[in-house]
Amino acid sequence: MSDKNCNCDVISLGNTGIPDCSLIADVAAFPLLDMAKDSSGAPKERLKTDLTVFANLEPLLNAASPLDRIYPIGKFENVEHNREDDVFWTANSGKQAFVREGFKTFQGMIINAPRELTGKLNSNACQSFGFHFLDDSNQLVTKKGTDSTKCKPILIDPDTFRTKYVEATNDAPAMLMLSFQWKSTEKDADVKVVGGLDYTGSDLYGLIDADATYSAITTTGFTATITSTCYGGAVEGLLLGDFSLSEVSPTPGVESIASVTESSAGVYDIVLTTPAASTEVFRLSASKDRFDFSEMSDGTNDITIP
């Protein structure tokens, strides 16, 4: 990237006045990952208030479409977020000429993060995405949008997005270290700081993937054991309204559930309203904040009535 950034339309220098009061970004604390494009395929642009008002943000944390979702990744410590030195070419005379801007790198650590998160984050490396972040002064730092009410993710160079797990020592806890570079096209001048958030970083959460295994399948119902696919814990406390059942074959359509009983942690006995016929195939779906049940209804483990 060259970034000569020369405005040839004007013949004067840029004015250098600054307002009496402007928001200055503090140390990055809570990165929020965001896909570069939305579910319609358009470059991502969000209303600023979607990220500053928790009532607007929480539906985005739980968005059904992964492309529309916001992915918080915890509280970072020891953050270094600097741009490398610019690159200059030096002539034999000693005169230097600007060649390109240095790359900007984020590096930080999450203390006591589960090691499974390493795999989750590293799998992002083939995506096109960016980030916003909350700083230590609880301000949102994001990229300017097409007008003052909008913002965009600061794009990340996915080739550089990498986490590694740092084992605990006698002197330090286990940590997850994340580092990445901004995309070379992203400019510091395009970043803006937004204050007035009505939540803090500790209110943020990412989703946990969950899937089900089925047993005791009869014409009157079945048992679904629902666990976190990555961490293995039981997904407890689902309510009847959190489930939906559909018949996949032979007659696709909605299937009515008569009752749900959580017989033990994460184990749900599901009774059908009308008796099923042998060889009918059903697909269970669920929806609840903080969980992503898409693996449950991806068609890989449907329920076939014996």
């Binding site: 009157t220 309510l239 009847l240 009515s256 559930i257 008569a258 009983t261 959580e262 009774v271 309203t273």
Partner: protein
């Protein structure tokens, strides 16, 4: 929720008592019928005692 079971009220309302008993008799035993009426909101029809034929007054 009754005895840990979350019922779909609409589904129970569309269900016959015999079907409900078939599904939940093992869980509720002798109380199955009263649970059905409680959830469905239906009113149990009391069997009317057979009317005795009125004795005709002697002419």
């Amino acid at each position: 929720m009754i005895n840990g079971i979350q019922f779909n009220v609409g589904a129970v309302q569309s269900m016959s008592l015999s079907r409900f008993k078939e599904l939940y008799k093992a869980r509720f035993g002798d109380n199955t019928e009263s649970v059905y009426y409680e959830i469905s909101g239906k009113v149990k029809k009391e069997k009317k005692p057979k009317n005795k034929p009125k004795e005709e007054a002697p002419n």
